[in-house]
């Protein structure tokens, strides 16, 4: 097969390329240039492009750089900022997969005549019972099926995830055995376009007017204040201007419109259900008994999905889900589909 492998400059995609070569495929590497601003992690910096190119040279494959910076800005960064402005907690990595890797890049691979696009994600694609299945990666701690939940049949049919059946230690061992310079490179952390020095606050602070907000308790009494309502996330405990010395209190809801953060005890963080919008399905809609995962490495919790209402009802109370987070439905290790937590008041009341 003619395979285009997306090489981020990290160890996983380096080994993915090597495995595809071993399997006898006709392999070409590419790296997306997504972000022109400051970056210290992930798949955006010139240093990462250099690493990817050097690995491709070591493997003896062609390597191209694709500049999708305009699309990244409009599809990932601007929606990220807008979601924060609306008091939501977006997941830009999911948007990047949806709009860049598995739309823009997959489309480019097709246009260039490649049979498949490969990435270094830790997840597994199998053809089983007449359809393509998206399953968790073999390494539970590194599983990335959550951020790939938007893949449908058409995309899965043209995608390869060569390291999905390996654990991370094995990936590193193979990279080291091949002498690849990325063998010991640390895993990327957090959002690639936000630096560890400046952080989310400074990134958003340059792009948004922050609204100071009141912090109230369930009874409506003002108990603290925040400098930026847009930056408060459900479950947050620090930075709410609360007096110490009592039971821990957490942000349980955020309303940017009225610049109000409501806090409560640990019990108030729990909910019976989560409303989901913009659902996509791996192989058609599903109703009924599922497991629901609401963060990249969150605990999957048993729930009943009501397709009509677009609501997942947890079997036992579960932590509230911040609006904007991805809600992914699983059956065993298989992803069924996913969407975005609506987090409107009715849904979490």
């Amino acid at each position: 097969m003619k395979v285009l492998v997306a090489m981020s400059g990290g160890v996983d995609s380096s080994v993915a390329a090597a495995l595809l070569l071993d399997a006898g495929h006709d392999v070409t590497g590419c790296t997306m240039k997504l972000w022109g601003g400051a970056s210290d992690t992930g798949c955006c910096s010139v240093a990462d492009v250099d690493d990817a190119r050097r690995v491709a040279q070591q493997l003896g494959i062609d390597h191209f750089v694709f500049n999708f910076a305009d699309d990244f800005t409009t599809s990932v960064v601007e929606p990220y900022v807008a979601a924060h402005a609306a008091g939501r907690t977006p997941n830009p990595c999911v948007e990047c997969n949806r709009s860049l890797k598995f739309d823009r890049l997959l489309g480019r691979a097709y246009a260039l005549g490649f049979d498949a696009l490969a990435t270094g994600h830790h997840a597994r694609i199998e053809h089983r019972d007449g359809a393509w299945r998206l399953g968790r990666g073999a390494d539970a701690a590194k599983d990335q099926s959550y951020v790939l939940h938007m893949l449908g049949q058409e995309a899965l049919a043209r995608t390869l995830l060569p390291v999905g059946h390996l654990d991370k230690a094995e990936v590193r061992r193979r990279a080291a055995a091949l002498g690849l310079r990325t063998a010991a490179k640390p895993d990327s952390q957090d959002v690639c376009f936000i630096t560890s020095v400046g952080g989310r606050q400074s990134f958003l602070g340059e792009r948004l007017a922050m609204t100071p907000g009141r912090v109230i308790d369930a009874g409506g009494a003002e108990v603290g204040w925040v400098a930026a309502t847009e930056l408060v996330t459900i479950g947050q405990r620090r930075g709410l201007g609360l007096a110490g010395g009592c039971e821990p209190r957490y942000a349980v809801s955020v309303d940017v419109g009225t610049a109000t953060v409501t806090v409560g005890g640990a019990d108030d963080l729990l909910t019976d259900e989560v409303a989901v919008e913009a659902m996509s399905w791996v192989d058609g809609p599903v109703d009924g008994s599922v497991e629901v995962q609401c963060s990249a490495h969150g605990t999957p919790r048993p729930a009943a999905f009501d397709l009509q209402a677009g609501v997942a009802r947890f079997t036992a109370p579960a932590p509230r889900v911040a609006a904007g987070q991805s809600v992914v439905l699983y059956y065993g290790d298989d992803v069924l589909g996913g969407g975005t937590a609506r987090g409107d008041k009715e849904a979490i009341a």
Binding site: T31, K33, V46, V49, D50, R53, D62, F64, V65, F66, N67, A69, D70, R98, F102, D103, L106, G107, R108, Y110, A111, L112, G113, M150, L151, G152, E154, A155, S280
Partner: protein, 380 residues
């Protein structure tokens, strides 16, 4: 076999150059700044090279400063003049980044161009005043191949900002034009060896007598204190040999390559729907063929061409190797969407009929494939 149509990026070394360099990569390794026999031999080689370069550029030997390439020559011109005599730097919007970025870094003025790529002389006039210290206008643009009206611009500078120094980046001009006569109105002239069959990493800046530049590099005081650092003897000797060969063969090359370019451009315009030439061919150098394809991205086109054994480029590349939308096309009023479909085919002294035939065979098919397969794939 590779079809190489990226001569504006770099062109193959001329045999005269490789031959001239060989002794200095071997036994004649002396440092020209020394006093012994080997040093004196090296010194003689660079001074003979200087004579050749001076005559090819219409300068006195003492006016030639050897540099580590065109970028250094441009930086020395802009930064060196401003550092020495002060004043504002002014350049056109279509300059190579080696000029544009130093001008911007010094807080200079950038002058608009017409849709054909030539500088807007009225806009230049408006940008000139007694504060201006240096004005830089390239002789030929590196992306589109447009020849700039340097003499008119220099005359305007003489009138409106008489104290200002005129610099020209002649890097892309030298293979095609008689720089010695065309750049006579410029006080500073930059060239780069590898664009005309010399080695990479060597260039020169002509600094006319009476003009002073502050050095970028200080040290041993070589090049009359204008550029310190041990000479790249082999490179300088090679550049001179390539320059002489270029000048000797230029009329023949320009005639031959110009015909090939017309055949290529006309062939593509006829074979591919939705393609236009950027700029006007009447005012381009013979090797330049710059096209805009609607509805495709040249980044993808270049991959297909590469896989078909063809080397070309879109516009300038950035540090990561990614394609950046061209500032030259933007300045010429080309929309960002159309600029994404730009293809620069640059012919050179080694280009053959077979190269052009191969390009005419490969490019229409590649464009057709991309247009057919440009269905937006949605994961949902």
């Amino acid at each position: 076999m590779v079809t190489y149509l990226d001569h504006a990026a770099t062109t193959p070394m001329r045999p005269e150059c490789a031959e001239a360099m060989a002794p200095y990569l071997g036994g004649r390794f002396g440092n020209p700044s020394g006093g012994h026999a080997l040093a004196r031999a090296a010194r003689q080689a660079i001074e003979e090279a200087r004579d050749t370069v001076a005559s090819c550029l219409g300068a006195e030997p003492g006016e030639v400063v050897f540099t580590g390439g065109g970028t250094e020559a441009d930086n020395l011109a802009i930064t060196g003049v401003v550092a020495r005599q002060g004043g504002l730097a002014v350049c056109s919007a279509v300059e190579h980044h080696a000029v544009l970025y130093p001008v911007e870094a010094l807080g200079g003025r950038v002058v608009a161009v017409h849709v054909d790529g030539r500088i807007d002389l009225a806009a230049l006039d408006a940008a000139l005043d007694g504060q201006v210290g240096v004005v830089s206008l390239m002789l030929v643009n590196n992306e589109v191949g447009t020849i700039q009206p340097l003499a008119e611009a220099a005359a305007l500078v003489g009138e409106r900002a008489p104290g200002a120094v005129v610099h020209t980046d002649a890097v892309q001009a030298f293979p095609w034009l008689d720089v010695a006569s065309l750049a006579v109105s410029a006080h500073l002239v930059a060239v780069s060896a590898h664009k005309f069959g010399g080695p990479q990493g060597v260039g020169a800046l002509v600094v006319r007598n009476g003009v002073e530049v502050e050095p970028l590099l200080r040290g041993g005081g070589q090049e009359r204190e204008r550029r310190s650092g041990t000479h790249n003897v082999a490179g300088i000797v090679g550049m001179a040999a390539a320059m002489q060969a270029t000048v000797d063969q230029r009329p023949v090359t320009v005639e031959r390559v110009g015909r090939l370019r017309d055949h290529l451009a006309d062939g593509l315009l006829a074979a591919v729907p939705g393609v236009t030439e950027s700029g006007s061919r009447a005012i381009k150098v013979a090797g330049a063929c710059s096209l805009l394809f609607e509805g495709i991205e040249s980044e993808a086109l270049l991959v297909l061409l590469d896989q078909a054994g063809m080397c070309a480029t879109a516009a300038s590349s950035c540090a990561s190797g990614a394609m950046e939308p061209s500032h030259v096309l933007a300045a010429m009023g080309v929309s960002r969407a159309l600029a994404y479909g730009s293809l620069r085919l640059s012919l050179g002294w080694t280009t053959t009929d077979a190269d052009v035939d191969h390009a005419l065979e490969v490019i229409p098919d590649a464009v057709a494939q991309l247009r057919e397969r440009s269905v937006i794939t949605n994961t949902r």
